[in-house]
Symmetry: D2
Subunit: 391 residues, 4 copies
């Protein structure tokens, strides 16, 4: 653990997160989170650190754990831990027991706000009994998965505070899913394989916001784009963009690169995998690592053999090979640094403003999961435009 | 009036409207509109004739007037009028009195369905008293304007039947507004001016679905695109596409071509017009001809002088000229043949299916304005995909 | 003939030809063509008039005929004929005898310079004997065809003066062929057919400079682009741009629109025509109207039937139809106003500077056909950049 | 040194180099290089190994050194060294003395052919006296630099054999420079910085083949592209593509990313650097690391401070920072794996065919530097097309 290295990473991120910088300046004056005790459970890397420091600047005291032991960067955690008003308990690769112990430690701190990614803290809180956090006024949740877990709690009558579904903001799915996923996924695929994209056939499975970004960037890199999409209206949109709409099996026969972004398990199943073109590179840009049916792949193919870092070959019948990237996990997190810094700046600006909103409107907000207010979405967008204009 | 010429135009349109063709085939078997008396008030040109003939094939008897005396094509009206089961009363340039008389004639025919564009027939029906059309079971309305008039009737308790807002279907605004408007507007601007688009600055005012199509095609023609948009989230989307987001006045200073698509009156007002670059070409792609403040333009400029067919020059102070196309009316209707045939095929397929739906579900549908059911949207999309696949 | 209308057309063109405007300003001061008698044989329309008036401003006396009786616009010819120092003999649709008589009249005027398009004047001069134009110092030829005729004269020892092949300038083929042809051809196809380009398959036959522009604009309109090209290196370039490289027959089977730009006769022959997809639209963007084998088409198909102005249907075996635009002639001249004004501004600026160069360097230039000096190419490019910068 | 790792890298490369694979198959049958002793001096990494093994398959005996001690990959060198008919002397980071000794060892092997990158072997041969390699029949040189050194030798009468300038092949500069540089440079910039490209201003300095690829991919990633180019005709081409043509200083004021590809030293000098926008990222895609004037930068700025691996910050007056990537060296080699595999497949296929050509035509080829014959260019292109077609 080299805290100096962590500080350097944080400085690079903060230098490229102008929205958080403006919020930090405003928070430093108004101290809207003064007296609040905020529990944070996020991927502990440099961009997240910028959010944590912004909340601190707003007057809060911060208690921090990682949301996933595998994504914690020890140098960043170490750098943060030394800062005034910030306590961190997280270590890369720590055991699940250690992670759970850290979550419990977090909840022992009389939290007034929770900012998290995945819902672990909120679920644990309910397990312990909501009365164990009597001062809690609200939750900001970053991910779809976490929001779904909160909604289950709400359905069971167990969610006793308001919670914001940051993921559903327009600035999140219109910008992050499309332009963040588009760039970072192709950056990762190019880096992992060193293969040319121009002149190749690319199959995008799923034409939602992520799929649109993936298709746009594939075309921008010179590929011919094929789209497989079950919603017929979206499929017509893809056709009108000049992409070729195909069934999954047709697409697999043609594609040199396949990228999934459907959010559904096993979308690329046995029949599709059996149809794959020799040499096809298979990558996933959806949140979970289950869009390729790995079990079916293992059953029909010999392998896997690691042929490059993060690239595993499977030998299919008929002298064909396919290459699965990052075992089907999110390729842009497994290879490279994830979303571009400025994209996370937008998403984290929404988080910081949502936390402030919970404090200011704590009397009015009913219990339950809420969409982020339009006003915050607009405010984030206005900050982006202001920054562009200032240039 | 040359009915032979009209038949030729109808044949060209029908040859390129595969969705209506498939519906026509299905209608010819099932005759779902058998016994119905349908009153039609639409722009009477070849593409519309294909819809009318499809309804006829479904078993309906058709009574037809124009929705606007200026858009009626006499050869098409003449060709239709001779066909079995179709009666037409419309003449290009007829007086408003004649038009109103035609609408009254329409309503004298014990209509069971109304298919229209703009709401004139529905409004007149209410004036006459809804009891004068006792057999009417529903209305299909094509335009935003017509829908708004129907909603006013509904609010006043005067709409006694169900009405479908065809305009609000996803296949309408996602496809027609974006790809139809994009192509036909630029086709019209290029034709009207004979000017080069590549290397020019293009300002798109309004980044809704029409604006997105206009920007996409401008970039595709080699222009640098500037976008002015009041919704900050949409403005960020434009920036992420690589367009430059500007204020209206900044954009006017830079733009060689300005295209409006906001739907709001006087959006390009005095200050913006005063800032216009010398030689700027001003066009409108929004439904109404009021997006440029023509009165302000007339007050500050000398002119207009017609310098090419449909192109009027205004001389501004400082030795500058601007060129207003089609007096600010929808440029793609004023110059050329409007939307591409295949685009209207989709919109009219929705109309035909909506009429069928009204008949089949007449017992269940409550009074009032309804969105087109998702099932119809999906069915239209599936027909497009089927057609693409059959190729 | 309405000279007022002609003046209006000329005014529109000149207002959008900033390069000629700057040259005109310079010519008005320096009068580099003072005392020269220039014979002009060009397509007599508004853009050409701007060139003629520029030469006049340089001090020359102008004698003008049309280069093709079918392209002469009488209102423009009439407007020009009234101007000081300009005499015109041309009428739309005049007989070949009349045209030849006009060319002879031209040569009776002791010309010192010839500016032409197609080589008719130069060839006639040789027929009459070069001694009949003793004061002639040079020729500026616009087209490939004209240059080839001059090269034949040169090979036969009959070309007694220097001649510039304006067509071979970089600013001509890199700009005019690519961006001029790209825009004007697609404008014409969209206007002639009212069909949608987005989502369609487009086959470009020939991937030279014209073909590149045609492909670029097709992709920009939302089409999927297929390219057929015999030079393998060019074909690889097309593949790297994301286009699909196909054989002609494969391409014909898939294409909704086919555009030829090879310059070679009968390129799309019997086998290819027999493979055409039902409904295919066939257009030509090459200089001559012979790229489709019309004889083969007539032999295998019934028709043609005109189905829209300039659109002829041929019925092929197997219930298929294809639509030939403008009988296979250059579609952008047959439908619409040809190249955008600013494109002709560049080409005609080269003409004007080439004429000046011939005068200034008349002592040094040997007999024979010469490429336009790089300095003129660069000067034209610099004028474009200056104009862009001044905006 | 882990030869197993090296074998894995070579296997990945060879699996994606179909042109070399086809040549290898042909060579294995015809053995066109049988009995030849080939000296190779190239960047010793996996893609190069595929070329070396192809030459071996053609019957040659191979003697191999690195062309640059810093680019040698020891695992690849080790894997190669164990193969039959291949001897390698190279070590990453070896001293210049060791490198020179290796070159001398190479020349001690009675070479008949030299395949190299940079000209070191040819120059050393002349130093030793051409009589020391009496059996040498020719040289294949990959780079511009090497070709220039050979041309100097030729001018001095010291080049006694034919040499092919592989770099000047059309398939090299049209494909490798454009699509290889475009993808690999942006892959490297995105990886090195984790910054967003969409919505940013990108300045491309130099609009040659590399610059065109860089601009194309920047636009494809959603950037607004600015181009600085001294050749006015090329600058007009850039404008027609929709890029904004600027002076260097204007561009520097606006650009978030600057990428140079001019091949000229110190192109981005003091005045330009002083104008840089705060936060600008400076990268070089030209062959040599001298396009930014590092001395001027050091003089006007404090720093450099390494802020991320390969990213150095310079603090300029006025609270501005700029970030120089890879100290101004070729960013796509310094970060990542260089050109995509398939691009090097094309360039190395040209090398292999050029070596074969030298053997077959050794009687006919005069001494001196020659362009690669068109037939080889076409053959390489045909192999690409064949491979695309076979898919």
């Amino acid at each position: 653990m080299d805290a100096a290295e962590g500080l350097k990473k944080i400085a690079w991120a903060e230098a490229h997160m102008p929205l958080l910088a403006r919020i930090r300046d405003r928070f430093a004056v108004g101290r809207p989170l003064g007296g609040h005790r905020v529990g944070v459970a996020l991927h502990l890397e440099a961009k997240t650190a910028a959010l944590i420091r912004t909340l601190r600047e707003g007057g809060a005291e911060l208690f921090v754990v990682g949301s996933n032991p595998l994504s914690t960067q020890d140098d960043v955690a170490g750098a943060l831990d030394g800062m005034e008003g910030i306590q961190v308990r997280a270590r890369r690769g720590e055991s699940l027991e250690a992670h759970h112990a850290n979550v419990d430690w977090l909840l022992d701190n009389s939290l007034t706000l929770i900012v998290e990614d995945g819902g672990d803290v909120s679920v644990r809180l309910v397990e312990r009994g909501s009365h164990t956090a009597p001062e809690l006024i609200g939750i900001c949740e970053e991910t779809t998965t976490g929001v779904e877990r909160l909604q289950e709690l709400e359905a069971d009558g167990l969610l006793r505070v308001p919670a914001f579904a940051v993921n559903q903001a327009r600035m999140k799915h219109l910008i992050d899913n499309r332009y963040g996923t588009g760039q970072s996924t192709w950056g990762a695929i190019m880096g992992a394989t060193n293969l040319l994209v121009a002149g190749k056939n690319v199959l995008i499975v799923g034409y939602g916001w992520c799929g649109r970004g993936l298709a746009l960037r594939a075309a921008g890199l010179g590929a011919r784009v094929f789209v497989c999409e079950s919603d017929p209206v979206k499929a017509v949109e893809a056709a009108m963009e000049g992409y070729r709409v195909v069934t999954l099996v047709e697409g697999m026969r043609l594609a040199d690169f396949v990228v999934t972004a459907t959010g559904r398990p096993g979308v690329v199943g046995e029949e599709a995998l059996a149809a794959a073109k020799d040499g096809a590179v298979l990558a996933n840009a959806g949140h979970f690592g289950y869009e390729y049916d790995n079990a079916a792949l293992a059953a029909m193919a010999s392998g896997p053999t690691e042929v490059r870092a993060g690239v595993e070959a499977y030998a299919l019948p008929g002298e064909r090979s396919v290459y699965l990237l990052a075992r089907g996990e999110l390729v842009n997190l497994a290879w490279g640094d994830g979303h571009p810094v400025e994209i996370m700046d937008i998403s984290f600006a929404l988080q910081a403003m949502a936390a402030e909103y919970l404090v200011v409107h704590q009397q009015e907000l009913p219990m339950g999961v809420h969409p982020v207010p339009d006003a915050l979405d607009d405010a984030a967008a206005r900050l982006v435009l202001e920054h562009l204009r200032s240039e």
